[in-house]
Amino acid sequence: MAVLDILTLPDERLRRVAEPVTIFDEALRAFIADLEETRRSGPAAVGIAATQVDVLKRIVIVDVSGRKNTPNHGYLVLINPEIVHWEGYETAREGCLSVPDYTGNVIRATRIRLTANDPWGRPLELEMEGYEARAVQHEMDHLDGTLFVDRVVSRRTDLFRRKVYQKGGQPKGG
C-alpha cells in the first residue's frame, strides 16, 4: 500500500471528467486500498475521490462512521456512482483535501438514492441522508471536475432567513 500525492487547486487535472470503471480486478482493489490509505493519512477527511490522486476513474470512498449520531453505511467504496433521486436541500460548511486553507458554505441535497458498483463489480443501491449524503455528493463532484468552491454560497445567503420565517410562522403576504 502507498500514500498517494493529492492534487491541489489550481491544478487543472482536478477539472477533468473521470471515466467509468469497466474492469474490476486485483489492480483496481489495490488502488482502492492506496486511495483509502491516502484518505486516512491527512487531515480528518470523510471521503476521497480518485480524481484527487490523478486517477481518472469513477471511484470514491466515503466513511462517516466516525461521526457521532450520524446515520451511515460504514466504509463505502462507490464505483461508477450515479445519483438517481434527490430530496430536500441544506447548507453546511465544507472543505477539501484539494483546497487547503479554505472552507465555505455549500448547498447539497438532504437525501439521495444512488446506484454504484462495489470493488468486485456487483451492483449497489443505497439510500442515505444528511452528512453521509453530503460527503457522497462532494466526492462525486470530483469525478466531474467540480470542486466545492464552485458551489460556495455567500455566508449571508444561507438558511438564516428562511428559518426565521419558519419560526415566525408568518411570511409577508402569506
Binding site: G47, A92, E94, G95, L97
Partner: protein, 173 residues
C-alpha cells in the same frame, strides 16, 4: 513583497465602485489580498487588503482620483499578518428579535464571557419599519461545550430574544 495595508472605503452605493478601486490598485502595480464588501444601511462599504511598493502614500495617490470621482471616503492602515491565516469556526449563533438597544452588546458580551472568539458577524435590521426586527448571524470558535454557551445566553433568551446556538462542522472531503 510589499507590506499589507487595510483599505476602508465608504460612500453612497453606485455601480462600478469595486471595479474602479481595484483597477486603480492594479494600475499602481499593487496586489490585492482578502476583501469584504457589503451594503450597510444602503451605503457601500468595503475593506480590502492591498500591498504596493511605496506603501500608504502610493496607495493614497492611486486611489485619490477614483475616491474623488465616486465620492468615497478612504481610510488606510498598515496591518500585520497576511494571507493563509484562516480559522475554522465550530459554532454558529443566530439571533432574532424585536430591535432594541443593546442586543449585540448583550449577546457578544455573554459569548465573550465564556471565551467565544467571533470570526464572522453580520447583522441586519429587517421587517416592517414600524416593527423592526434585528437579525444577527455569528460564526466563531469555542473550546467550551455548546451547553456552556447556552447557559451564558439564557438570561438574554428570557428577555424575548431568540438565540439559536448550533455546532458548525466542516466536512472535509
Amino acid at each position: 513583497m510589499a507590506d499589507w495595508h487595510m483599505l476602508t472605503l465608504v460612500g453612497a452605493d453606485r455601480p462600478g465602485i469595486v471595479a474602479g478601486v481595484t483597477q486603480a490598485i492594479f494600475a499602481a502595480g499593487g496586489s490585492l489580498g482578502e476583501a469584504s464588501m457589503i451594503r450597510l444601511g444602503g451605503n457601500f462599504t468595503i475593506m480590502l487588503m492591498a500591498a504596493v511598493e511605496g506603501g500608504e502614500a502610493r496607495l493614497r495617490d492611486a486611489l485619490a482620483p477614483v475616491a474623488a470621482d465616486m465620492d468615497l471616503r478612504l481610510h488606510i492602515d498598515p496591518v500585520a499578518g497576511g494571507l493563509h491565516q484562516h480559522l475554522i469556526p465550530n459554532v454558529q449563533v443566530r439571533v432574532t428579535g424585536a430591535d432594541r438597544a443593546g442586543i449585540v452588546a448583550e449577546i457578544t458580551g455573554a459569548l465573550a464571557g465564556v471565551g467565544f472568539n467571533i470570526l464572522e458577524l453580520d447583522s441586519d435590521v429587517a421587517g416592517d419599519p414600524r416593527r423592526p426586527v434585528y437579525l444577527m448571524h455569528i460564526q466563531g470558535y469555542s473550546d467550551q461545550p455548546i451547553e456552556a454557551l447556552e447557559a451564558a445566553v439564557a438570561p438574554i433568551r428570557a428577555s424575548g430574544i431568540a438565540v439559536d446556538i448550533a455546532p458548525v462542522e466542516t466536512l472535509i472531503g
